[in-house]
Symmetry: C2
Subunit: 669 residues, 2 copies
């Protein structure tokens, strides 16, 4: 047992290090109560705590693997911790001895200069040190950088669409420390990780968690493997996906004609993705999808035949679904009749919310019958049986907190785990048709455990720009942070999605994004929220040629991506990896969030600034690196600057790699 | 004794009402500790608390007038309260029994719909209900409304010059409740008033206060009188001031020529205010004053003779001073040599800070010798003896928190009371020359007790616009909130001060501001921070004529203002009063912050929006009101709309007022 008692304190050691320490002077636990004020609007939440009490539990009594804690000797016991641990792993079970506790703060020692990663899929900061991260499933917001005019516009003129550095569709109360251990909070309550104080890390939880889990490993790769085992692994990538890009078009039947233009230009195509397969509704904001999950024959006449034709050419058809049902669609009526909808707290009627000139209800996934209905009738019959090979499984962040749920769970607890339930519904539908590893759906929302269900993440709705906290670069941070927590596959809307105010996707941005996407698990374009106002890849022969070439490079690397996929299945390592994962002796790699290893041997440093013709990146120490386009050899342990004209994203492979021939072949494209 | 014990609780009754109540279920006191993080730059502070503990003291033991409190029975006593009270007033002395306490929260019961006022000089919200107000002396910021583009520009492009609704030069931990009692915290520690919860008001103090004082009175006027007695009253207004406007010009010797233009246009002039009397320094931002407090003979040749000439015409000369000394001036050298400067914590050298391309030290007013030196040598000799009849006593908000002070006080405690020390230095200098009530200095910074020293407030640096949280309207809110706490005299820079980005003072704004200022204690113009880019009152004959007419109305009302001044001396009532002060039976008046009573009988509702030709205001119930310009009679208890062309600010007097003849005479101008 790694738990050691000492005078009025205790210590937990894992992997030969002190991970948890408690004494009267430096208590590890604080308990208390607060009064939460939550306002939500379209996935954006304003959450304020009116704190009532916060009490340090300074007095500990250790008995074997159990520790009871009180404010001081003689005061009532408030919490009991039950430890189970071996040399590397520990679980701390929390037993509340006081029903009034609804806030808990847990501290573990910090070290000066310690890097911290994780927190789910983070868009702004890969290294979490020095900041506080609330962990609540939400829209990330557009305008996540308070210093930009766009943020101000989104905050003030965009109906509260702005965000902040910590907002994410996929938070997770798990962190990885550079001390080579990870900590996970097993709770779906509102939580916050506070890394502002160098002396400790403080975890705030709005409730008593079931347990806190600790993992220590000698190497980061082992640690990532342990986490992926804990949260679940994804199936291998389907073979069809690796043939090229999934082309996102939403032009109704015209999409098929436009796809031909792509094919004729030599684009390697794996799929056609039409999110408007379910039809449209017109609003004053423009066309919106009709949220009733079945084929719309007006917008896509003869779709079954068209899908069959595509398939004959080796191209799959993908669609769209989300967990809401528009009140004016037949599925809503059916769900309401069956009692499958989330209910209002104050009335015996479904809880519908406004999504912008139309209202939708939420299917209550805590009702197993409702979840099974969605999985079977919608995912299984309306989508897979109909012929879809994949879909965007959108949203998951909008569950209000004042809902009435079938299982009696509070909205404040259900909210964060809703994306996991949503992922499970999709995965169950897929499994029910025996299509696991073949149907490819992709999710943006997530929480602890979504890893076992979501076969592919997508990075949500980036701005169509190069901005630091909203644009192209956030995709890398998102891939690296989520990848450490067991999400092996990650990709993004190529070219970004959100065009607000004056932000417009330029040809330059479009090309830089493709150059990055070719070295991720999946290439998929999106026309964005304002297709006509933004650059599309079929706008010009030049753009199309550039795009085609990058898709062919993606297809060319299919054998390598297959290897990475096999590795992900076997070990849990993600396809896109932070540099330090394979270079843990090189501390200079620890905070890098603008470059990544695609597998162990290929270093990708996408150009994520406008107006650049060259690019500078750090190459990890200890090995030599070959610049793919020039063949020039660079010693690791230094920054190098290389030319980066369009079509030549900064790429380096490890000298002596088993795949060196494959990598050097990229230059021939 | 108004303190009554009951089973594990107690209650304090004042004025026949329950003011304080404690029970184990609803404790009145929480104690704890926190770790403050304060960053300051040019009077703007970012203050963050890393809270360690917050413990409810649920268990109370009452013995006579003493109450001891602990977390629960058997736990150590943490605080002892000693009550002294009569039927109307109470003092609660706090004795800390635990030296680790550095945070304290005190709750008093709230009532639904209860209005709350005070908090010092507030610019955004007169009624404090529903919001939390940190109380820390600071720049108010320009751009105090997060919804405006100007705020975003100031926050992000203006070097952190933006602010928020609660930022003020003059906070004060005193509130007045509509339940007709006031509460004051006797402490200069960082504090916050939290009125978000309708059930209670929570007062946060970063330390254990000496005492909390409570005042209950049957009428609001009595309550304001009691507060003005507590915090100190101001001397009567000097006779010379009431003759007309103080004209602010900073054109060096040319100011005298420009003053002639004003006089020739029929402006009633009481003084010429030249803040540049101490000379200028050139920076890349433009001309700045040279912060060394003595006559600059280059910029103002023969100034003593010019001052004497002015005085012969019945016009006074006013100057400028602030508590800092530029490092390149002779006074700094003298102060440094004498050991009169605030010192760095980490080195034996003066604590100088950057004010924008020049550095200044702070005279250490906790050193009585230094304060006496400033009062005698600067205020007395360099200013009063030299011939100044008044001055702007600027700043007071910039004391850093990590300073080393002569009296050993911590910067966190000294910061808030610095304006009081600054006011005392000025008042002492004036009193030393026997000029109290004759020399007129005006301050923007303040804190509890500055009332006894500062003979006149000025509302700081408004934006030269009509904006809700930065512009002309904030002056009324400032006068009303500060007036309730014993500040009888209030005025503002006519036309506003701050011109940033695209904000420019228009002729319309200039005229509307004058129309308001004529009905305040003092009329004083300011050219603003960018004189050349902004409208000045001598820009055109039309503007000058409008201005001249309003100054003559001010001078015409001198007998009335003299009466208000006498009333202020006798009773502590401010010249500008919230409507409810005299109409406490009319609940509709309680939250009005756009109109005021100038004395008991004249209601002023300045036009504080652009593009208006009429104006709507509420007239209190129970009396009839005469519209000054038309003579029309309006019944109270309703909103009325009146024409409001330039030159006819909405003015109403109480029918039957003893001053009715005077008021009706305004229409003849």
């Amino acid at each position: 047992m790694a738990l050691e008692a000492f005078d009025n304190g205790f210590e937990l050691r894992l992997g030969g290090q002190s991970i948890l320490r408690h004494s009267a002077d430096a208590p590890c636990l604080f308990i208390g109560s607060g009064d939460a004020h939550v306002e939500g609007l379209r996935g954006h939440y304003h959450i304020e705590d009116h704190l009532i009490e916060r009490i340090a539990l300074r007095h500990a009594e250790v008995a074997g693997d159990r520790v009871r804690l009180a404010a001081h000797p003689g005061a009532p016991w408030r919490i009991e911790l039950v430890f189970s641990a071996d040399d590397d792993d520990a679980e701390i079970h929390f037993l509340s001895l006081d029903p009034s506790i609804n806030r808990l703060w847990f501290r573990v020692p910090g070290e000066a200069g310690e890097h911290i990663w994780g927190g789910g899929e983070q868009f702004s900061h890969f290294d979490l040190a020095g900041r506080r991260f609330p962990l609540w499933v939400s829209e990330p917001g557009v305008g996540r950088d308070k210093s930009t005019l766009l943020t101000w516009q989104c905050d003030q003129r965009g109906g509260g669409a702005g965000g902040d550095y910590y907002h994410t569709n996929f938070p997770q109360p798990t962190f990885v420390s550079a001390r080579r251990y990870a900590l996970h909070v097993d709770s779906s309550a509102y939580a916050a990780f506070d890394f502002r104080n160098p002396a400790y890390h403080e975890i705030e939880i709005w409730g008593v968690p079931d347990r806190i889990e600790l993992f220590a490993r000698p190497h980061f790769t082992d640690l990532v493997g342990a986490l992926s085992t804990r949260f679940g692994r994804q199936p291998p990538l389907p073979a069809w996906l690796l043939k090229g890009a999934v082309i996102g078009l939403k032009d109704g039947a015209k999409s098929f004609d436009r796809l031909k233009v792509y094919e004729d230009a030599g684009v390697a195509v794996s799929g056609l993705w039409c999110e408007d397969w379910i039809g449209l509704r017109e609003t004053s904001f423009g066309s919106r999808l009709f949220w009733d999950w079945q084929w719309n024959a007006q917008r896509y006449p003869d779709l079954p035949a068209r899908i069959a034709e595509l398939k004959d050419r080796g191209i799959r058809f993908l669609g769209y679904v989300n967990p809401y049902l528009a009140v004016d669609g037949p599925l809503y009526a059916a769900a309401a009749k069956a009692g499958y909808l989330v209910m209002r707290p104050d009335a015996d009627e479904p809880y519908v919310i406004d999504f912008g000139e139309f209202e939708s209800g939420h299917v209550d996934f805590t009702n197993l019958a409702a979840a099974a209905w969605f999985a079977e009738e919608i995912i299984g019959r309306n989508m897979i049986d109909f012929g879809l090979s994949g879909w965007m499984a959108d949203f998951g962040e909008y569950l209000p907190t004042d809902v009435r749920l079938h299982n009696g769970e509070e909205g404040m607890r259900a909210h964060n785990r809703w994306p996991v339930l949503w992922g499970a519904v999709n995965a169950t539908g897929v499994a029910g048709r025996g299509m696991t590893g073949e149907s490819m759906f992709f999710m943006r929302s997530g929480y602890s455990g979504v890893q076992a269900h979501s076969p592919m993440l997508w990075a949500g709705d980036q701005s169509v720009d190069f901005s630091r906290h909203d644009g192209i670069g956030t995709v890398i941070t998102a891939a690296l942070s989520s990848g450490l927590l067991g999400n092996a596959y990650h990709h993004s809307d190529i070219g970004g999605y959100t065009s607000l105010f004056d932000t417009i996707r330029t040809p330059e941005l479009a090309m830089r994004w493709v150059e990055m996407a070719a070295f991720t698990s999946m290439m998929r374009t999106h026309e964005g929220n304002r297709p006509r106002a933004n650059t599309q890849y079929d706008d010009s022969p030049e753009l199309l040629a550039h795009f085609a070439r990058m898709t062919r490079i993606y297809a060319y690397l299919a054998p390598y991506l297959r290897k990475l996929s096999d590795e992900a299945v076997a070990t849990g390592l993600p396809c896109q990896r932070p540099l330090f994962l394979h270079f843990e002796e090189d501390a200079k790699t620890y905070a890098i969030q603008t470059a990544y290893l695609y597998g162990a041997d290929l270093l990708v440093a996408p150009v994520i600034e406008a107006g650049r013709s060259d690019w500078t990146t750090y190459l990890p120490a200890g090995v030599d690196w070959v610049h793919v386009w020039s063949g020039a050899m660079h010693q690791g342990g230094q920054e190098v600057t290389v030319p980066a004209p369009f079509g030549q994203p900064p790429l380096f492979y490890r000298a002596g790699s088993a795949d060196a021939a494959l990598f050097s072949g990229i230059a021939a494209f």
